[in-house]
Symmetry: C2
Subunit: 446 residues, 2 copies
Amino acid sequence: MRFRFKPVDGSVNAPKGFQSAGVFCDIKRLGTGKGSNKGQKRDLALIVSEAPCAVAGLFTTNQVCAAPVKVCLERIKKGRARAIVVNSGNANACTGRQGMKDAREMAAFTEAALKLPVGSVFVGSTGRIGVKMPMDNVRAGIVEAATLLNNESESAAHAAEAIMTSDTRPKQIAVEFKIGGKSVRIGGMCKGAGMIHPGMSPTGKRPATLPLHATMLSFITTDAAIDSKTLQRCLNEAVALSFNRITVDGDMSTNDTVLVLANGLAGNKPLTGGAKLPLSPDLTNFQAALNHVCLQLAQMIVKDGEGVTRFVTVRVDGAKTLKDADAAARAVANSALVKTSWLGGDPNWGRIIDALGYSAATIVEEKVDIGYSAPGSRKVVWSLKRGQPTRATFKELCAAAAPKEFDLHIRLNLGKGSAIMYASDLTEEYVEFNKGDVADPASLGG
Amino acid sequence: MRFRFKPVDGSVNAPKGFQSAGVFCDIKRLGTGKGSNKGQKRDLALIVSEAPCAVAGLFTTNQVCAAPVKVCLERIKKGRARAIVVNSGNANACTGRQGMKDAREMAAFTEAALKLPVGSVFVGSTGRIGVKMPMDNVRAGIVEAATLLNNESESAAHAAEAIMTSDTRPKQIAVEFKIGGKSVRIGGMCKGAGMIHPGMSPTGKRPATLPLHATMLSFITTDAAIDSKTLQRCLNEAVALSFNRITVDGDMSTNDTVLVLANGLAGNKPLTGGAKLPLSPDLTNFQAALNHVCLQLAQMIVKDGEGVTRFVTVRVDGAKTLKDADAAARAVANSALVKTSWLGGDPNWGRIIDALGYSAATIVEEKVDIGYSAPGSRKVVWSLKRGQPTRATFKELCAAAAPKEFDLHIRLNLGKGSAIMYASDLTEEYVEFNKGDVADPASLGG
């Protein structure tokens, strides 16, 4: 029987022993006053475990890397954590020494407010680059959030709201499954919208093999008992199949961060094994659940990207190598002309094969197949087979490329390399939103 | 005294012995009838030399390469030419064997119509990909154009109109200068608008050193006496500094082509020397004039790109290597977030340093300078110095980033690598234009 997990409520508060809160502390300095009851979107979140946690994380490989990311990279080496403090409205990126001081103080102030051990709080930030953190507001926010912490779904929803920037809705998920008879839960939240083309690694350094590529932030909690090394291995795989396979605009952020905290309160027999294969059946199940959580969250980011109206899964198969498959999928997923054709519902295979042709992947025009299906369906309407237009009519192809969500199938027929990218269209709304209004600096994005 | 050349009228007809014509032959099959007098934009051009020419060319390095490009690559090996036949409205790309047959027939039919030697006519096409060439229309167009050939400026303007696709205006230039007391002229025309990020090479193969990156077409004529090897060497340099340094949308086309025909009728002492350095003073002057013609034409393409409202010269200096400088300049020039900020006149250095950080170039955040100047001016308003915001006010920076044309100065302060990219903003009009309307397939682009 296939491994099953069921959806549950509660987001990051779903696993045992986790509490969260989200408050408004006017980090953008809108001047509308502090407190969470002023009708303003919340902008500071706390996620706290009552028990010590194993922690794993992946971070942007952008060489310009925000202060909170650097603080996380320092702290993750110990593999232990108790809480995460996150703000929106300011990325604390390109803020020099003051930025590092501020990020460390966010963590230290949270530790003091919650009476947690030194070094046990992780930090995340998202918003405009190059603006000094309003630390008075941040401290007031932490103090207020600390008084509001609880394990209710509503509080988790407040936290998920607090990390939003240009997102139109909070993004949350939680699942429950069994490990050795014990109920285990994984909960998560994330934010995205723009500057979305993550390429995260555990060290923030670019692996030679990882092709390059928002601010996306994702915070995941679990009550599974698992050591930090094994947790990191599982997170690496889950992110490689999810967050590192999404793009909205091809711009990789200075702040991308995924963190998982595992407090062990489910009482399962501890999951161990690190990088050793094969995985135990229990670890295989945990991995499957974590993959599901990360993939669902990653797809929510693309679907709620700035101005996005289409969600397209680009499936490349038959590439000479895995690297080729990845390069081909990214070239198509990031092509301005392909993305505008999706907006128009135009089944324009010419722009697709053009992007394949200039990608770093080896392509033989006479071997390329291009087609469309409903999401996850094997019933493909092919527009191109072996480089030649099929007999499918323009009307049939338009119908296949019209839905709000579809799969784009590309077969290079040169080898066994496969890759998937989750991509969006490029819309007038994206441009309108990002051009901002210099007469109203508050409208300007990250 | 600095070498001088003066602007002259006549475009590709300016040099001695060249004639051209542009006609409407309904290549898009609008069904509005043939002939050049129906109020439709012309769509087929001829450029013909009365004397045999040395020829040089560069071609798209897209692996998906249109039939006319393949025909040019076959013919250029001989280094000799008499004429060029070009159509807009159909790219003759991804058209299989029939496409190759049609491209060869365009050339052969032109040779027969003009009584030129077999193999002496070059072919160019631009327009929608994957549509069979309407050869009856093409033949009728060639026949009509052949009757209209002459050396007047108006005919050259008709030819420049005939190669336009989404261009809003024809692009032409001609200059005159002296070589050994003889007057020599170079004339040229080009088209661009969308799918503009050329990376052309003489063989259509990617040099390992050339970073990857419309349909852009450019046809240049000269009455200089120069051998084809020397002409190719000069064109390689001119294109490396012009057409291969422009981007509108980051999509490299299947059809990019630059061709130069040199008929020697100026009577100068033949320019020779191939790739040998140092260049003779005469060759240095010819190179300078060719560089000027190519750069002016290339800049016209960016300024008239689809929906473009801003022309930005991205100047990267102080990169570790030339390759790094190029990677940094292209990352900034192709970033959706940077380009939308230009549209808004937003002096957003955060997005610029973000793009630098994810580029393949080595960057040290604490060393980066970013500033703005008027085109070609050394009076730079710096927004960032050594990774830290300067004292320039938001108002001052907005004023510096507001003009329709400005230079963006980026200093990495790590070495001596420099690169320039000529780039545009990304606008709602670009998206609107390229999404097309599937209910009106004629609106759909290349």
